[in-house]
Amino acid sequence: MNLVNGINLWKTYNMGEGIQVNALRGLNITVNEGEFISIMGPSGSGKSTLLNLIGGLDTPTKGDLFIDDKKISTMTEKELTTMRAEKIGFIFQTFNLLPSLTVRDNVEFPMRNLTGAKKMDKKSRIKRAEDCLEIVGLDHRMNYLPAKLSGGERQRVAVARALVNHPKFILADEPTGNLDSEASDNIINLLHEVNQEGTTVIMVTHDKETTKNTRILKIRDGVIES
């Protein structure tokens, strides 16, 4: 089943004074449930723009994008926010943990964004956060602030945070970009474990080493080459 289906996607940025930049130029993409996708490409090729669209942070200028069978180009801001909370787990290159919250609170945070029937009480949220931290092997760091952790540990917290809401897929934007090779291997292994449990992973990367056992999509000049 298609989890992401983008057809003839265009994204045009208006730079002012009549200058327009096409970041995506009729890009087509299909991601099936359970896949591990690696998106590669040079700077300015449209990787980040594509990730923003798939992540529901932006909408295409032209073309149709379906996420889990829902057309996102016609979604309201509120619907996009709900979709991000419920269906997508984000992992950033710079970790983006909330510095004033402990590791446990950081992982618990996305569950606060669930609404309606998916809303959870505090006890359940904490239990789930602790379970996810156990999965990434950081149950002994729950009460630490992010500043006290190494880069690799912070990214593992980010993986746990991405997992807590049982997302349909995880979007990882160069998750190993700021890590040494050992920490990098750990994170990639962790993402493969998560993928084997059934969660789809879409990863943007520059590092060929991290793309083993994944389907690689090469993007250049706003279109997918292969």
Binding site: L57, K78, T81, F92, N96, L98, S100, N113
Partner: protein, 381 residues
């Protein structure tokens, strides 16, 4: 989001403490100024209450207290002898300034012995409240006057080579700044006329109408019979108006200071919260990417400014009394512990101001935070 707002604030302790101190200082200023206004208002009310149900006959245009008034004694006697006047509860008075070392003014108040109730009313007294059968230099002191001369019943004190013998001391009136009675040294009328070198003159008549005569009737009768555009008959309402207009400039000045303090306080929190939003752009972007709604981002910033205001407000309220005590003490108003409780009206005023500052100053930064685009924010370094 309340707990996250709290954690955000505690993670930036120095800045949070500085802003709380800023708000606390503003609250202290507002509280102390409100206290001063409250006390002046209370003292005005007490002064006006002292002539409740009475009339004051005095020179036209002198207001209340009638310190600038001068009436020939024969005119005063005619007024007091009128059929609408109750002679037992009415009296001519003479006011003269009495020097001492304190910053407050003391009045030497001359009354006809036996008619002291016209001025003393129901104020509690230590010693006697009558000058009848007392020596010529006997005086009854108001609360503040006794403090100023540091005397009690049985003591004597000397001013301008004249010795005064204290036969009674009155309790303090109201809770506010001192009233005319608190600041008075009450003596026999002839003694004061002699001391002030104003023979044959009185300052005013304090008049209680006879039984069966209404205040309005007595006022009209006395005004028509003895007024002649030279004298005027004041009621309690007129006195209150006169007292309030005397202090209106002070009230406007104090209100202006309060308004300035509120504006400065609101701007202080607003600027700090705007800086905080700017610093947290990436965090807010992350929250938005993780599915936090705009409404909840707005609440986060709003709560932060509210927490700062409320904490500053609570500490400020707690410190109002000690600071006001110190203020009174430094102004020469007596020992620390002068006033023990904050009136509810001041508490409510400060609470409303704190909530207003907290919510109003948080609105613009919160709106700013709510508008942050997650894409721009995640790119922000």
């Amino acid at each position: 989001m309340f707990d996250i707002a709290f954690k955000d604030l505690t993670s930036k302790k120095s800045r949070t403490i500085m802003v709380i101190i800023g708000v606390m200082t503003c609250v202290l200023l507002i509280g102390v100024i409100s206290f001063i206004t409250y006390e002046i208002t209370d003292a005005i009310q007490v002064d006006a209450n002292n002539i409740a149900g009475k009339l004051v006959f005095e020179t036209n245009g002198t207001g209340y207290p009638p310190s600038g008034s001068n009436i020939p004694e024969n005119v005063s006697n005619q007024v007091l002898a009128d059929s609408v006047v109750n002679p037992d509860k009415s009296s001519a008075i003479i006011l003269a300034a009495l020097p001492h070392n304190s910053t407050t003014t003391t009045f030497l108040m001359g009354l006809n012995p036996g008619s002291e109730q016209a001025f003393i009313n129901s104020t509690q007294v230590t010693g006697t409240d009558s000058l009848v059968s007392q020596s010529n230099n006997s005086v009854i002191l108001g609360y503040q006057a006794a403090k100023d001369y540091n005397v009690t019943v049985g003591d004597t004190f000397t001013v301008k080579n004249e010795q005064f013998k204290v036969v009674g001391v009155l309790a303090k009136q109201g809770i506010g700044t001192t009233s005319l009675q608190d600041e008075s040294v009450i003596a026999a009328l002839p003694f004061v006329q002699n001391f002030a070198q104003r023979p044959g003159l009185v300052t005013a008549d304090i008049i209680t109408p006879n039984n069966g005569v209404s205040l309005g009737n007595a006022q009209n009768t006395l005004q028509n019979n003895y007024g002649n555009n030279t004298y005027v008959v004041y009621t309690q309402k007129d006195a209150l108006q006169s007292l309030s207009s005397t202090e209106s400039g002070t009230f406007i000045f104090l209100d202006m200071i309060i308004a300035m303090v509120i504006i400065v306080s609101a701007i202080l929190i607003m600027v700090v919260m705007m800086m905080s939003v700017k610093e947290k752009t990436r965090e807010i972007g992350t929250m938005r990417a993780l599915g936090t709604s705009r409404r909840r981002i707005l609440l986060l910033i709003f709560y932060e400014s509210l927490i700062i205001s409320v904490l500053g407000g609570i500490i400020g309220i707690i410190l109002i009394i000690p600071l006001y005590d110190l203020f009174i003490y430094l102004a020469g108003g007596g020992a620390l512990g002068y006033i023990y409780s904050i009136p509810l009206s001041i508490l409510l005023e400060v609470a409303i101001v704190v909530l207003f500052i907290g919510s109003f100053s948080g609105l613009i930064p919160a709106y700013q935070a709510m508008r942050i685009s997650p894409i721009e924010a995640l790119r922000y370094e």
